[in-house]
């Protein structure tokens, strides 16, 4: 059986992200709303739902600010709120990634098993780094770089 196009909506959003980098505020907000909807619809279980909820909450904070006085003095608080919810959404996603590749490592053919386990480990380390507010750990990036080099991606 051929591999179906798993997430055409998400693939399109990922492609649009590059095109939208220099775009106007309205287009970016519409894109962020589409990301929240697509994450919710991706049927990833509780972790996917949690990421979608946090993402919508960050968007909700921006809507609340827009409807209010739009006092520039409130911007640091808005930024902290958005950062907090996006961080939590990333945590949920990286946790789900680590779990999915750990499961794949158990079933993958022997040739691919080590790479799947290395991916699971890298995503676990990246999730921990996000939790502690730090950058992606070098060991995890090196591991991914090695896989990229080996697969010539």
């Amino acid at each position: 059986m051929d591999r179906p196009d798993l997430s055409p909506r998400l693939e399109a959003l990922l492609t649009d992200a590059r095109a939208l980098e220099g775009s106007d505020l309205g287009a970016r907000l519409a894109w962020l709303e589409a990301v929240a909807d697509a994450t919710d619809a991706a049927a990833l279980g509780s972790q996917g739902k949690a990421a979608a909820l946090d993402f919508r909450a960050a968007l909700g904070a921006i809507i609340l600010y827009a409807r209010g006085k739009q006092d520039p003095a409130d911007l640091p608080a808005l930024e902290a709120t958005v950062r907090m919810f996006v961080t939590r959404a990333q945590q949920a996603t990286f946790g789900a990634l680590a779990g999915a590749y750990r499961d794949l490592a158990k079933r993958a053919p022997a040739d691919d098993r080590a790479e799947c386990a290395a991916l699971a480990q890298a995503f676990t380390e990246m999730k921990d780094a996000i939790t502690q507010g730090g950058p992606a750990p070098k060991a995890a990036l090196d591991r991914l770089e090695m896989i990229r080099g080996r697969r010539a991606l």
Binding site: L6, A57, L59
Partner: protein
């Protein structure tokens, strides 16, 4: 022979306290103790609270006593002015210059004796801007923390604002606002979430193929290769996209070869018979 003097009798309670004392003494000077790396005792002196975006914002000036100061996750024991206690986790901190740092605050359990307040509360995550002056000898400090705290209820309330048309309306209202940097921050944070969700879907599809007894070895191999490529794309977006394109080309090439081979087998040879050309 001089009889040995009887040892002074000790109560069981005394012996237990002796043992606890020895254990505590050992733990106090243990260079690599178990438990959280940072342990801080905090006594708030001034507290001011407000509400914005459905979140609780607070300014706290406290006296800190740093019991353990190794880098890592910090456990903070707060004794409030009313005598109640909180246990709070600080998951990480990032210095942003001029003695200021941003803290990512983890789950916390709060208690209160103040009439009208909930006796027990909880925080799931918070962000704080903090700075302190530390006395290196006594490991004591006075600090201020400006923090934002959120609960699950806050998340649901804010998320419910994203109704149809709300985002477009907000974009119009924000046309003259300086909110662009915040949206850009959210935009950058969304990209790994999208590629992450795609990779999770790919990994689950690959697992399904590996379990399927009717799936061919080639299908299984492609499914796993796609999943690995999608995972790499979470961190190296462009490289992973190219990798997937290459896989699609290989898959298409394999399918084309198989189709041509099947066509050749099904089509009777044309042209003159062998040896008559």
């Amino acid at each position: 022979m001089i009889p040995e003097a009887p040892k002074p009798s000790r109560s069981i309670i005394g012996e237990v306290f002796d043992r606890i004392g020895k254990t505590v003494n050992r733990l106090k000077h243990d260079p690599d103790p178990a438990g959280p790396n940072r342990l801080t005792h905090e006594r708030p002196i001034i507290e001011s609270k407000g509400s914005l975006f459905g979140l609780e914002f607070g300014l706290t000036v406290s006296e800190l006593h740093q019991i353990r100061t190794t880098e890592g996750i910090e456990l903070v024991h707060v004794v409030n002015p009313d005598g109640s206690s909180n246990l709070e986790l600080v998951l990480g901190r990032k210095n942003i210059g001029k003695g200021q740092r941003i803290e990512l605050q983890g789950p916390a359990i709060n208690t209160s004796y103040t009439p009208g307040n909930m006796p027990v509360g909880a925080r799931f995550l918070g962000v704080g801007l903090t700075s302190d002056v530390i006395d290196e000898k006594s490991q004591e400090a006075v600090s201020y923390t400006l923090e934002v705290k959120a609960t699950e209820r806050t998340a649901f309330e804010l998320a419910s604002l994203v109704a149809p048309g709300a985002v477009a309306g907000a974009a119009e209202l924000l046309s003259q606002s300086a909110v662009g940097a915040v949206v850009a921050e959210m935009f950058a944070g969304a990209v790994p979430i999208i590629s992450g969700v795609i990779a999770i879907s790919s990994a689950r599809w690959a697992i399904k193929q590996l379990k399927d007894p009717e799936a061919t070895t080639a299908t299984k191999a492609f499914a796993v290769a796609h999943a690995i490529s999608d995972a790499v794309r979470v961190v190296f977006p462009i490289a992973g996209t190219l990798g997937n394109a290459a896989l699609v080309l290989v898959a298409a090439g394999t399918a084309l070869y198989a189709r041509k081979k099947a066509q050749r087998a099904a089509t009777p040879p044309t042209g003159p018979p062998d040896g008559q050309a």
